[in-house]
């Protein structure tokens, strides 16, 4: 048994709290998981591979295409090769899942308690996490979208039907595809903060990103408005360089500006929800 001591400890001296230390700590946490490396690498290769495969197929089939197809191959078909619908869906799923896991991984393992016992400033901590994930996913999206565009158009240029980044709408499509990743990651984080359970978060993130948009028809103004407010629809609008042109009509059209605003609102709203919800709840 310890005899009561008279040792008196001096008051705690500590350096001032800096936000950049939280950024560095969360950055290290993200990269110290092997799954982060593998998920980004493998999904990136798959996405680029799918797009390249589409371009290779068109390159191969080009001699058989009739004049009608050839007339609109640039930009419509060329752009669809750069950003196939399936590759966009994979970007959304991967980014949404990575975002969700950064939050639900903490709750599911109980690490969240260790984290908040070490950093009681929860809002700062969640903000650092949001920023780190955004930066990583923006880098990932930029590489995947940039390489997809460059590689597919390089292949198509064999028949002189590749686009340059200077083609009207091309840069917008690449930028939208690059930004799709951080937007969906933030959405995953927001939903993860609300739901906290890994599997349930994945299911609902997938539903919001992929299943919800087809539920709304373009037929009525109001359903079209809801559809346009979905992140995946906004992305499709921004990569659709032939939107409303070349004889294609859209009953209730939306603008690229509205699509950009849609993506921005989803990102900001999800981040705000994550910060607020995590701060308020018991862990």
């Amino acid at each position: 048994m310890t005899a009561p001591t008279t040792t008196v400890r001096p008051a705690v001296t500590e350096p001032s709290a800096r936000f950049r230390d939280l950024l560095a700590a969360e950055w290290a946490k993200l990269w110290s998981l092997r799954s982060t490396h593998w998920t980004l690498l493998l999904s990136g290769l798959v996405i680029i591979g799918i797009n390249i495969n589409a371009a290779v197929a068109d390159h191969h089939n080009w001699p058989h295409y009739d004049a009608g197809i050839r007339a609109i191959f640039v930009p419509i078909w060329a752009m669809r090769d750069a950003f196939t619908l399936i590759s966009g869906m994979i970007i959304m799923l991967v980014a949404g899942s990575i975002g969700a896991i950064t939050i639900t991984g903490e709750y599911g393992t109980g690490l969240i308690r260790t984290t908040f016992a070490a950093v009681p400033a929860r809002r700062s901590l969640v903000a650092a996490k949001l920023i780190d994930v955004t930066v990583v996913m923006l880098g990932y999206g930029t590489v995947v979208a940039g390489v997809s565009f460059w590689a597919t158009q390089a292949i198509l240029s064999g028949h002189h039907v590749g686009m340059s980044i200077g083609y009207p709408g091309a840069f917008q499509a690449v930028a939208a595809s690059a930004l799709l990743a951080p937007v969906c990651a933030l959405l995953g984080m927001g939903l993860g903060a609300i739901i906290r359970h890994g599997a349930a978060t994945m299911a609902i993130t997938t539903a919001v990103l992929l299943l919800l948009p087809p539920c709304f028809t373009d037929h009525y103004r109001w359903t079209a408005d809801i559809k346009h407010a979905m992140p995946s629809t906004a992305w499709q609008r921004l990569v659709d360089v032939g939107y409303g042109r070349f004889g294609f009509t859209v009953r209730h059209p939306t603008t690229t500006t509205e699509a950009w605003i849609t993506l921005a609102i989803w990102a900001v709203a999800a981040a705000a929800v994550a910060v607020t919800v995590v701060d308020r709840r018991d862990v």
Binding site: M1, T2, P4, T5, T6, T7, V8, R9, V12, E14, P15, A17, R18, D21, L22, A24, A25, E26, A28, K29, S32, L33, R34, S35, G105, E106, T109, G110, L111, I112, R113, T114, T115, F116, A117, A118, V119, P120, A121, S124, L125, D282, V283
Partner: protein, 303 residues
């Protein structure tokens, strides 16, 4: 110094902690005891700002813990050894926590050495045994060299060597003038570690006193006597003012007489003794008696 005042936590209709008031002073190991479901973990979580109290306050060094931007230099805590991500190495886990708190990286190596995990530092925590996770949790608590340490059931999963090490560590930390608050549902763990006890049951305070005071609550001191002539010895002891209870075939439990006096009487009356053993009041018994009314989940309970 941890101060808890009128602390209450309700989950819907269920009251987990009800008006707890106590303080935990520096320089001592204070045991926090109660049966399963008594509200120990909830109380510790409220002290650490993880759960928001329904009522009352909990402060560390005069401030609610959640008001501090960084925590490790103020309170070191091990709440649950499983509260780590199995995919990270012990080193990665600790260095991220250290970085967030501006604690130099060499401190990570120091605490890993202190808990004996240097060899396992680069292994992923998912492969750790419970005992190794407890050590990692203790390393986390020590990282910021804090004046206040909180441990929730730290002995679970440790081997006998580990248990002895942890007890020594707690005593050393207290001797350094730190506040050491250790929860347990086993009195026997506290018996060798704590100077002071806070006992709760069903979320309410049952006792807040020194270990010695607590021990005095237990059954009065008794002496076990084993003799082939129990029937001869019993009236002799009763005549001297002892209270004798037969305890099996050839054994007696005697209260009110010291072992020395019983030995003298037996010698004077030429009664053969096989065993003469003073029994100190068991803390475990005192604890059981004290918490008997407030056990939440009783085995064999009629439902």
């Amino acid at each position: 110094m941890i101060e808890v005042s009128g602390l209450t936590k309700r989950y819907g209709a269920k009251t987990a902690v009800n008006g707890l008031t106590f303080s935990v002073r520096p320089g001592h190991v204070t045991g926090f005891l109660g049966p399963n479901g008594a509200g120990k973990s909830t109380t510790l979580r409220m002290i650490l700002g993880l759960n928001r109290p329904t009522g009352g306050t909990a402060t560390v060094a005069g401030r609610p813990f959640r008001d501090r931007p960084r925590g490790l230099r103020h309170v070191g805590a091990l709440l649950d050894a499983q509260d780590v991500h199995g995919g990270r190495t012990a080193y990665a886990h600790l260095s991220a926590l250290a970085r967030a708190n501006r604690i130099p990286r060499r401190r990570v190596d120091e605490v890993l050495g202190e808990v004996g995990l240097t060899e396992a530092a680069r292994r992923r925590v998912g492969g750790f045994s419970l005992g190794m996770r407890q050590r990692l949790g203790i390393a986390t608590a020590l990282l910021g060299d804090p004046p206040v340490l909180v441990f929730d059931e730290p002995i679970n999963g440790l081997d006998p060597e580990g248990v002895r090490w942890v007890r020594g560590l707690f005593r050393r930390l207290a001797a350094e003038g730190r506040t050491v608050f250790v929860s347990s549902h086993l009195m026997s763990e506290m018996e060798h570690t704590a100077d002071h006890l806070i006992v709760i049951g069903r979320g309410e305070l049952i006792a807040d006193e020194s270990l010695a005071e607590f021990a005095a609550r237990g059954t009065p001191q008794s002496v076990t006597v084993r003799t082939p002539d129990a029937s001869e010895l019993t009236p002799i002891l009763t005549a001297e003012g002892g209270s004798v209870r037969p305890d099996g075939d050839q054994a007696l439990t005697v209260t009110g007489l010291s072992a020395a006096r019983i030995g003298e009487l037996a010698f004077q009356h030429r009664v053969l003794l096989h065993e003469l053993a003073p029994r100190t009041a068991s803390l475990e018994e005192a604890f059981m008696e004290l918490t008997a009314d407030s056990v939440e989940y009783l085995a064999g309970d009629a439902r």
